[in-house]
Symmetry: C2
Subunit: 307 residues, 2 copies
């Protein structure tokens, strides 16, 4: 079965590992968010692409949910001597990814090619495609000014007020090669349990992607990143509020209607089902907080079965 996923960071990594347990990796495509890409120490860092790649390579630090397992941070300590920002934790092994990507980009290669090459280098056969080769930057509007997503999320620990979110560059961006074709040719599209505003939102902001989601014959299934009125991880709740979206599966459905066929929600949100039905979204109820590899695979298996 040809499965295409829209993926952000931590939550997506879990579901991707689960899907990879069932689907031939060559039939699995990840369309990754690049809205939170950033430059650190002169290097191009693509946090969500890397999280997906590392997860599928079996190299992700499972405790932290980002970066490489067993990572060291000696270069980071060295950078502190040079007055560089050290709030964004780049590990020593992780640096090899960013050095490889940055060199490829400086040589004029598109991000999609660099991404495919890095995945192949790490033994990942799943196709990982950035949403766009063009720069799209998620900017968080706060009362004190705009922050990049990483400044907001990592440096400020998502503790500042948010008044809005922009996707700089999105109107002029094009889907990366293969993105639209993958969605149109899919047998199942899965929107991972990622933040709808800053993980999936930037993907949807690239002109042409929503059209492909609306046009595909494949069912589009999402897993709610909101359980019991709160985000499973990350700042989704605060960001959804700035968009006027209720912090519940209803807010997820609203963000993804009218192309969303079905939403997987947690048992404790079962009461949302009738209202989801009124939005035209089917409901599937399960324990959706993935707490183990077995759980990841079970949830993925359920999505694949019920498509």
């Amino acid at each position: 079965m040809r499965v295409v996923t829209l993926a952000g960071g931590t939550g997506a990594a879990k579901l991707l590992r689960g899907l990879a347990a069932h689907v031939d990796p060559r039939d699995l495509t990840v369309i990754g968010n690049t809205g939170d890409d950033t430059e650190v120490w002169g290097l191009h860092v693509s946090p969500d692409l890397d999280t997906a790649t590392y997860a599928l390579a079996g190299m992700l630090d499972v405790e932290r949910g980002w970066g490489l397992a067993g990572e060291t941070f000696e270069c980071l300590r060295g950078m502190a001597n040079h007055g560089a920002d050290t709030w964004f934790n780049l590990g020593d092994r992780d640096l090899a990814t960013h050095l490889t990507r940055t060199r490829a980009l400086r040589e004029g290669q598109p991000l999609s090619r660099a991404t495919a090459r890095i995945a192949a280098d790490l033994g990942v056969s799943v196709r990982i495609i950035p949403m766009s080769d063009d720069p799209v930057r998620t900017m968080i509007r706060t009362p004190a000014g705009r922050l990049t997503f990483q400044e907001y999320f990592v440096r400020e620990k998502a503790l500042v007020d948010v008044v809005g979110v922009d996707y700089d560059g999105a109107p002029a961006a094009h889907p990366a090669p293969g993105v639209v074709d993958a969605i149109r040719g899919a047998e199942l599209v899965v929107v991972c349990p990622s933040n709808p505003v800053t993980s999936v939102g930037p993907i949807l902001a690239v002109p042409g992607i929503v059209d492909a989601l609306a046009a595909t014959a494949a069912p589009v299934v999402a897993v709610s990143p909101i359980v019991g009125g709160a985000a499973v991880s990350g700042p989704a709740a605060a960001l959804m509020r700035t968009r006027g979206l209720p912090v519940s599966p209803l807010g997820i459905a609203r963000a993804y209607a009218p192309w969303l066929r079905r939403l997987l929600i947690d048992r404790r949100d079962e009461a949302c089902a009738p209202e989801l039905a009124r939005l035209g979204v089917e409901t599937d109820v399960a324990d959706i907080i993935m707490t183990s590899r077995a759980h990841e695979a079970a949830l993925a298996g359920r999505i694949l079965e019920r498509r």
Copy 2:
């Protein structure tokens, strides 16, 4: 006393530490070779500038003679996954230096400014100046083609035949700001015990530097990198032969005449003294292979006393 040194790598590092034990760091200037600068993983690496900086910061790995003490190599292992060259050993802490330099150069800063900044960041008050802000690259001609110095020395372990040495870019290069003034205003110029062909040679190839050495009122004193018919370290012997220079203090004197006032030679080369005198070079005889910090300081003290 205002002391200016011309410096290559390992041998220079020892003498520089020795000089710093006697001279106010603000009165000590290092003019560093950049002919063996190279690009590794997209980063600008300046091995000789870094060796001088690390030595003066007390951070040099004394065993190896290059890089940082206690260094780790995790990024290097990561780069192996990406098919990158891994014969040039960049350590994780060391990477912070190269990332800082590369970013500064990409922002349009000259190498001299990046070098001064890195030294200051590491607490070094000695003035370290690259010979030039313009690119000069030492190229080793072999029967099979030309190699950069690092390809020749590190990758090929100096085991290939050498038929000549070029300093690409030198004719068009200018001394970095401060180089000529430092030499002209010096009270003593010390040519470190570095390879005359690939460490000091590139410095001398920058138009204007030899003129400054010839014009300065300061005595110019060199320490021989050749002892008992062999280089104390590195490939100086083979490289001197390609220049038709005898592998002895006489070859050093010939490379540096006519502006060399005095040459420090080892006891076992004492027999060279009469011929050095015929070249117009005074001789000072000592145990010049520096085997300890105390020895480094003693040799430096002797040079300062007898200037």
